[in-house]
Symmetry: D4
Subunit: 220 residues, 8 copies
């Protein structure tokens, strides 16, 4: 498994990451990690790899677009001296284009998204053991849906930057699409964005697979 004893990992993102965690940065034994995939990751790490002390930190913040995350990225991510950084951003960049189409100042176009995300990557690259890019997503299997189609552009940017900068790419859009072959989107996220516990578990599972997590690992 990639994460070693003594490693620290910081998760940066929006409400999907935040999920009620301490603002702006949370961790610890109580609800500091929130109720979403970050806590599930933390619990599974502790349950399956008790002999490794891995510090998990939640730097997600409700409503953040890539523009807002970038603004606080130094304070809430870079300055924490993490060993690993995971970034899951972009959903609000796209969503505001569709739910409040008139408020254009809240939209983030693909070009700006690419620039924002790249700035975050270069801010930590070289200082950490690795960067995970968790793609934004829209739990809508119909690729013709305008918002899904738009989201695919951002996912593509995410993949492209992962390749260019050697990040570990976790394609949540693809993962949810495959899942929807078995269950409807409303069973994991009523609004196709905010995951319930099943949806959060699916994200945690996808992340851990990218970490080469072994469910049959035996601690010694």
């Amino acid at each position: 498994m990639l994460l070693q004893d003594g490693d620290r990992i910081v998760f940066a993102g929006d409400s999907v990451t935040d999920m009620g965690s301490t603002k702006p940065v949370g961790e610890g034994v109580f609800d500091g990690l929130g109720k979403g995939y970050v806590r599930i990751v933390d619990s599974l790490l502790a349950a399956f790899y008790p002999e490794r002390r891995i510090r998990v930190t939640n730097s997600g913040l409700d409503g953040n677009s890539s523009k807002e995350l970038l603004t606080r990225f130094h304070r809430d991510v870079v300055s924490l001296d993490a060993d690993w950084v995971a970034i899951c951003i972009g959903i609000n960049d796209v969503w505001r284009q569709f739910d409040v189409p008139a408020i254009t100042s809240m939209h983030v176009a693909p070009t700006e998204y690419r620039a924002n995300l790249e700035q975050m990557i270069t801010a930590v690259k070289g200082k950490v053991k690795g960067v995970f890019l968790l793609s934004p997503y829209y739990v809508e299997p119909n690729r013709a849906d305008p918002m899904r189609a738009r989201m695919d552009e951002y996912v593509a940017i995410c993949r492209e930057l992962s390749q260019r900068h050697g990040c570990i790419f976790v394609n949540l859009q693809e993962m949810f699409e495959e899942y929807c072959e078995f269950r409807h989107s409303s069973s994991v996220a009523w609004d196709r964005v905010h995951p319930n516990q099943v949806g959060s578990t699916l994200i945690a599972k996808a992340f851990l697979e990218a970490c080469e997590f072994e469910y049959h690992h035996i601690p010694v």
Copy 2:
């Protein structure tokens, strides 16, 4: 306009109708009518037709399927001696099949839906001046989406019963589909079901058109 001075109209339904109204039956000057399309209908009637005293009653209840609405239909609708009855039910009959597929006792199949709805219609038919059937809907323009496809079966039942019993049919599914040619579903209902104010206004508009409401009416 169909609704005349002195008429009473009762709206029966689920959370889309309820929207915070007094339980189980609400009306009046405060929040008794809830915050959804029923209150918007009431306000527009009062604003454009001040010379007609039309009594509007909200008998919507959060979470109701057609099975649950039928159970309370006599107490909350029939016994009110309305002049008009509007029924908007079926969304939860379908939704539970997709968000909690394992809890089959919460699903209502098409056959049962037809039977439930027909019982309601016959309970008031003949006692009122007219019955409006507002179709259930899923604000998902992709007809291949499994839940949308399923919903279309229920909309069809609704249309069929309207024709058989001489009800006024208001096709909300179709209305939302047309609207989505201009705006994305997330601008009227994040979860494609619960309408925001714009979504509720669209439902009110569709209902009033079926009433032959005249925006250029001059009160005398």
Copy 3:
């Protein structure tokens, strides 16, 4: 209709405009627009003109007199670079003269009202496509009532300034007076000032008529 695709309109005012909106400036998909006429305007625009993206902003603030609105006018209105500005102010200028007659520092005399309002108009005139002046009002049809009589002076100032500066004048006092030929003031505003949903709908209706809103508009 006056408002075009891409236009932004800012509503400035007191509690009648505010109605629970985000302080001091609100907009967006949730309750940012409050629960009063501003939200109703926004919903009707979105429902009838879906092909136009019109950004609606609520800069109303509970309890404001023209003196207080002027103080924050640059920050909350001018700086927003709106295409249209609507101002509805003056009710508290008058009301405090009658409900707390001894607290004279809370009264705003006609001369000061005219000066305040004119400063606001000139602050945006020329920078916007148009300015709407919504008159203050007191839902009291008896013109001999001292507060109504006093209010009429302020309405007159409002009309006068509209003519001098080419603003679009919306006479809410007159509108409510006509409405009261059909219904009693207590059916739209218990205290003759704060409108319930019917009262707010009437204000929205009056505003939209001034916009040449077409209820039979067909989006293309």
Copy 4:
């Protein structure tokens, strides 16, 4: 002063009487008497006549019309074995005719009002030392206002029944009308019904004058 040492007086009425008192019947050292005229009466009695132990009870209930008060009159008034009973009812009988004109089941016509009130009077007449009838009122000096004009019919019924049954009549409508020669209705009751502390003090003052209360009384 009419009220003697050891006497008990029960005030029956609607929200004007209730004002947050214990439901349905309140008294005592804490907030049991509510915050309206009943508590002011109690405080002034205790302050000016400390040598008389006069038990004051609040049987007011928010929203009551004469129809609803009659329903609970035996339980909340008659059964208390009071020495004096004061009744202030009728405002809601009239108000509902104007703020919710369509909900006719909430209206109480003059004939029914007279019958209800007379039933209450005869239920206690003979068992008590005296009955006070506090007239309903609408703090609107314009007698041409439809609701004020309607209220005058009820006030007249109240006066008529007082004379027929030997009750002590307290004309609150007249009292407020005289007061409005000096101050505007909005300084005592924003909605012309629910009194603020000044309005409640005026009602208490009118009641105490009917009791022949002496402000220069010297306790011995």
Copy 5:
């Protein structure tokens, strides 16, 4: 009556004056005046002298000793340009000596009390029409009680300063003592300090008598 049309009076004090008023300075039509004697004074002035516009302001603050009131006296009293000032302070100066005898830093000795009070008087003397000194009190008729005995020293200082500076002295200690010939202290103030509505009414009555208030005044 001393207070004339257009006069402003500011009441400075501790929790007995404050009673839930707006902090630090309150007035107006809602709960700004608190629920104690200040509001009762205001209501009685408005009810009996409607033709005089008298502005009443509450500058009481929970827990204040004379030391703390002095600190804020300029901001909360002097700067308000009142016509009359009423000061009721000293209870906490004494009380802390008895309920927390070990916390000596919360005690205010007679010498300091005199100095503090005199500073307040001289700060407004000459700028106002008159200064009322309402004595501190302890509703304990037993003069041998140590706290009552101690309080008497502060009351004497209050009287002495009134005479020296020509203030209007209102002896609340004496007033309560006389009242206790008829009723027990627990009927006006459970803890012998914080008055209930009867106790507050007694203070208001004592103050108004000092104002030469006429209960039989007829407004013209």
Copy 6:
């Protein structure tokens, strides 16, 4: 010490006993015992006599007079099969005579108090190892105070019944009187009834002395 391993003791009383305990009967590891003397007794027993398992139960209820305690005495005391019963009642029997003198139905005269208390004693006498009578009290050292004088009559009844029925008498009135030689009543109970933590500790101390509690006991 009187209380032996395995004993159960039930404390019955009013708000002084209750102090936020579970209603109507509380015990256990959380706040079931309330925050008053009962919990202090329980804590001191557990701290000094850990080898004895003594079950402590709180059957106090806010506002109870002897009349109300008697009504629930079988359910809340007798039926618990205690080894010891402690009763502290009578304060409200007296207090209501002074704070609400007009509400005579809330007063309990000495004769009735004696009868009530005796019924309680005989209900448990013979079934338990012993009955403690904790006297009512008023923390007012002035015996001439009318309420203190009245309370002394009830304390005397309590003493008299203790002697007649062989109860263990704990004279709280005397205890507080002696304490007031050192500190003022306001340092233990602002309203001379409801004890703060010091006052509750004093009651616990008095009770434990009556139990022959040994502070130098060494558990073995």
Copy 7:
């Protein structure tokens, strides 16, 4: 994996099972399943086996001992017609013996525990596909600790009954003991009983292993 498509499983227990679930029986898409191991089991089943519809129900209730669970076992477990039943009970049977040693009526001795548990098993045995017995536990690795030692007796009873009745035994005590070789008890349960998210995940993991859950399962 033991649980098949269409199966229903009901978890019965105390606060460890309950964890904020709907009372007394909860399930569904919101918080009905609580926040403990039951929801984690449900999420992992849905995430790894999306093609199987497994209905998970939480019948845990805070504070239950085996005595209390037995009382409601028919209503909350048997009547649900489950395919599988999992029982985790006994912690409170033991705990009360140590935290409230004097309240013996809250203790459940081993004999009674065996009888209670056996009654539950026989109530469902034969009607279901299988019964899981999750042992009670105390996260204290020191077997000499009196409460741990006592708990071991109940764990043994649990194992014994599993063997006799062919239940699937999940030894949580042993699982936690092994885990404590790597981490301290305070990292999974501060009070050694109520699990945090890591502790709940460990219980879920142990349960799923007993189900022969395959983390590498590929849905088809």
Copy 8:
């Protein structure tokens, strides 16, 4: 007894000291002292030594390690000019090593603990009559438990520094160990750290014994 009339004692510490006291420094007649051992100490002092005025101050703060207490030690302890200082710190220094082993920045090693504690001692030594060191503790009698073993190192440091600097050492670890011969740790502190009322009483008892408190003292 060591504490004399007029003395002030300040208790510095973590949540065990704080227990809901006013932040950061609390005292006085209400809940300023919190609900833990500090208030019990204060109550027992006042109850047994009423003739001595001893000022008790609570400077405990939830969650403090020695590192955090040191940071605020000057402001919250030294600057108060106490006669006695009591310090109880170190539990969180150790606990975080076990409940969040991965968050090493929250751990305080023995060397740092010694340095921190010594800085506090020298900051007050010479300025006060005496310093009490209350040892940290873990209510776990099993000395082989890793956290207990670790805690013993800190207790030893505490003892060592007491001897070097002439502090009065109160060994709470030893005290709890002895108590656990009679009762289980869960009867005084469910999580073995935060004491319930019994646990707090035990700490108060230990402290008072170190003060040479006499339970048979007779005030004069």
